[in-house]
C-alpha cells in the first residue's frame, strides 16, 4: 500500500484511508479502495478493494470486490472476486467468495463458501456471482450424479457412487458441472 503521505495528497480521492485513531460507526459505501487503520463498525459496501491493516478493526458485514485482511474483522465478508487473510489477519464470520486465500499464520473461525467445485476455473466463472448466492440458503444435500460428474472433469456421467459413501460426513452443497453454479437441491434418500 502507498504510504500515508501519498494518499493525503491525492486530490482524486482514489483511495480512502481511515487513520488509526478514527472510529466510524455507521454505514459506509463507495466506489474506491478503502484502507482501514482505525475502527469501522456498522456496514461496508465497496465496489473495489478493502484493505484492513494490522491496526485496523472492522466490525461489520462487508460487501466488496476484493479484500485483504491483515487486521481484525468480525462480521461476514462477501467478496465478489477474492479475499485474502494475511499472516496477521484475524477473522470471525462467514466468507463468501470464489477465491479465498488463508496465509499460514492467519486465524479464522467461520464458514467459507466458494461455491463451485467443477473442473478448471475460467475468468468468467470467477466473475459470475449471482447464482452463487443461492448456495447459502440451500439445505445440505447434493445430487450423487452431479457430484461424480463434477469430479471426473469432463468424462461422461459415471454411475452414482454407492450409498455407503454417503453415510459419512454430511456434504455441503456442491455445484453440478457445466451448469454454471446452479445448485441442485434434492434430498438424498438415506
Amino acid at each position: 500500500m502507498a504510504n500515508p503521505k501519498d494518499l493525503s495528497v491525492s486530490a482524486n480521492g482514489d483511495n480512502t484511508v481511515i487513520g488509526p485513531s478514527i472510529v466510524i460507526n455507521g454505514k459506509l459505501t463507495g466506489d474506491e479502495d478503502l484502507t482501514v487503520r482505525g475502527r469501522l463498525e456498522g456496514e461496508l459496501a465497496l465496489t473495489k478493494t478493502l484493505i484492513v491493516e494490522p491496526s485496523g478493526i472492522v466490525k461489520a458485514n462487508v460487501s466488496v470486490k476484493n479484500a485483504v485482511i491483515s487486521g481484525a474483522v468480525v462480521g461476514n465478508v462477501d467478496a465478489e472476486e477474492s479475499i485474502e487473510l494475511t499472516k496477521e489477519g484475524r477473522m470471525v464470520g462467514d466468507i463468501r467468495s470464489p477465491r479465498v486465500i488463508l496465509v499460514d499464520g492467519a486465524s479464522f473461525k467461520g464458514r467459507i463458501d466458494m461455491g463451485e467445485v467443477s473442473g478448471e476455473r475460467t475468468a468468467s466463472e470467477r466473475g459470475s456471482r449471482a447464482p452463487v448466492r443461492t448456495v447459502r440458503s440451500v439445505p445440505v444435500a447434493a445430487r450423487p450424479g452431479a457430484n461424480s460428474r463434477a469430479r471426473s472433469e469432463g468424462k461422461p456421467p459415471s454411475p452414482p457412487p454407492p450409498p455407503e459413501s454417503r453415510s459419512g460426513a454430511p456434504l455441503p452443497p456442491m455445484v453440478a458441472a457445466g451448469s454454471r453454479r446452479r445448485v441442485v437441491v434434492k434430498k438424498k434418500a438415506r
Binding site: I57, K59, A72, V74, R90, M91, V92, R99, V100, I101, L102, V103, D104, G105, S107, F108, K109, G110, R111, I112, D113, M114, G115, E116, V117, R121, V135, R151, E164, S165, G168, A169, L171, P172, P173, M174
Partner: protein, 114 residues
C-alpha cells in the same frame, strides 16, 4: 502400520472402504471412504479422493476430500485441492486456486475492545 520412518501409500487404483488407523505417515493416491485416524502426517495427493472423517496430526490436501477434519497441528489445502467439510485445527492454510466449502475453527485472538 510402522511408526516413524515408514510411509504408507494407497495407490491410485485402490479403493478402501472402512476405518484406517495408524502411527506412521500416509499418502493417499487412490480412494478412501470411511474414517481415517493417524498419529502423523496424512497427504491426499492430486489423484486422491477421500470421503471420510479424518483425524490426523497434520494434513496436506492436494486432491479431493470431503468430510470433517480434525488436525492437531496443521491443515494445508493446496491450489489443486477441492475440499468440503468442517475443519478444526490450530493452523489452516488455503492456497490461491483451492476450492473449499465448509467451516473452519481456528483459535482467533481478537483485540479486547472489539
Amino acid at each position: 502400520m510402522a511408526q516413524g520412518e515408514q510411509t504408507g501409500i494407497i495407490g491410485k487404483g485402490i479403493t478402501i472402504r472402512g476405518n484406517l488407523t495408524g502411527g506412521g505417515d500416509l499418502v493417499i493416491e487412490g480412494r478412501v471412504e470411511g474414517q481415517i485416524s493417524l498419529k502423523n502426517h496424512l497427504t491426499i495427493e492430486r489423484t486422491g479422493h477421500v470421503e471420510a472423517e479424518i483425524r490426523a496430526e497434520e494434513l496436506t490436501i492436494n486432491g479431493e476430500a470431503s468430510g470433517n477434519i480434525d488436525a492437531s497441528s496443521m491443515v494445508s489445502i493446496s491450489s489443486s485441492a477441492k475440499v468440503a467439510g468442517d475443519i478444526k485445527a490450530p493452523r489452516v492454510v488455503i492456497e490461491d486456486g483451492a476450492v473449499f466449502n465448509g467451516t473452519i475453527q481456528m483459535d482467533v485472538k481478537l483485540p479486547d475492545d472489539i
